[in-house]
Symmetry: C2
Subunit: 230 residues, 2 copies
Amino acid sequence: MKMNDITVKPIAYIETDFKEKFGIPRQSGLCDTARGRIVFLPQYRTPDALRGLDGFSHLWLIFDFSLAHRDEWSPTVRPPRLGGNTRVGVFASRSPFRPNPIGLSCVKIENIEYSENDGWVINVLGADLLDNTPILDIKPYIPFSDCRPDARGGYADEKKEHSLDVIIPTEYAELLDDDRLACLRQCLSQDPRPSYQDDGRKYSMLFSDFDVHFTVEGKKLTVTEIEPLK
Amino acid sequence: MKMNDITVKPIAYIETDFKEKFGIPRQSGLCDTARGRIVFLPQYRTPDALRGLDGFSHLWLIFDFSLAHRDEWSPTVRPPRLGGNTRVGVFASRSPFRPNPIGLSCVKIENIEYSENDGWVINVLGADLLDNTPILDIKPYIPFSDCRPDARGGYADEKKEHSLDVIIPTEYAELLDDDRLACLRQCLSQDPRPSYQDDGRKYSMLFSDFDVHFTVEGKKLTVTEIEPLK
């Protein structure tokens, strides 16, 4: 039996508005407005490799959780969805901290377009990935085999995490285009705080070219400043 | 931007009845009776890592297409589903021959049970993997993010490949238990032949502990012998 390690290499990277881990939706599909732009590395940059992809609406990204590389692994993790206090098995979770730091996300194809600098790029929606995440593979989403309407989702079925009312004063809201504003609202409403935190603190989240400051009181999240970076 | 290769290591392997590539259903989900038994490598063999998995009905296997390792990659492949003559982009296909030979399959959890020799193993259904395929990661199927009923499947939506009428004489059918017989029927009905082959040839397919011989005439596949191995 061949049980050898294998070496995998990035074929592309994805550009997103998530410049740091804090604030990224904790579950694929929770932020369907989040834009991503998949840029192939030069040696994989050929339109032939994408032929026929335009017939599909969704695709799978298999990616490197590049900030979650660890020498050790823990058999259990504490999913944010369970309040951060309950441990579940790593193979019953989508945590980045796993024996092989490989992630899996379903995204929607917005379009495939040619760019002078980057060649053919795939624009996607619902990309809950950190900016510049290395992509290891791209596969079409095949409804017949991938869509299982009868599936039970264990603890993840309680998907209704508490959500927050998000208040963004107009002067700050104006700084973002409509799509980004909608995405930021979605992310903030899902409460990016580590759940064991008390209220009253000031938080800051890098998003697109901005540093977004906010506070939370009860069920209300108020953006106190959106500061352009650079 | 960190665009480094990463090394991934098998955490488990899967035992199936598919002893060779020939005859394996070409699409995940096409053979829902195919049994698999996931055995963890000793260093990953702890029930803690599976805690909470019993609440899920399906899981993702990310695996090494260990027989598809190649030094070169081709931007296009010819999916069997398109008759083996039409080329599509490798990223618009689930072909094993891709820049990183990583596979993705959704399987149904049958049960999780303790075995004296192998510790806690996961028995699954719908496992279209070669026997002893190295498993790189196991993730729960999360309906909210993974099930996309609105997805369009491109050329793969024409899932109705031609199917064959399968005739297995009783004397041979009796050699297999009911589950295996059902699985073998499913696999054969999907016509394992390379589609550009003419009829009239004798084929042989290793399945479980048997060598299954068959011929095809028109839409009729006849098993001519099921020969126990060893």
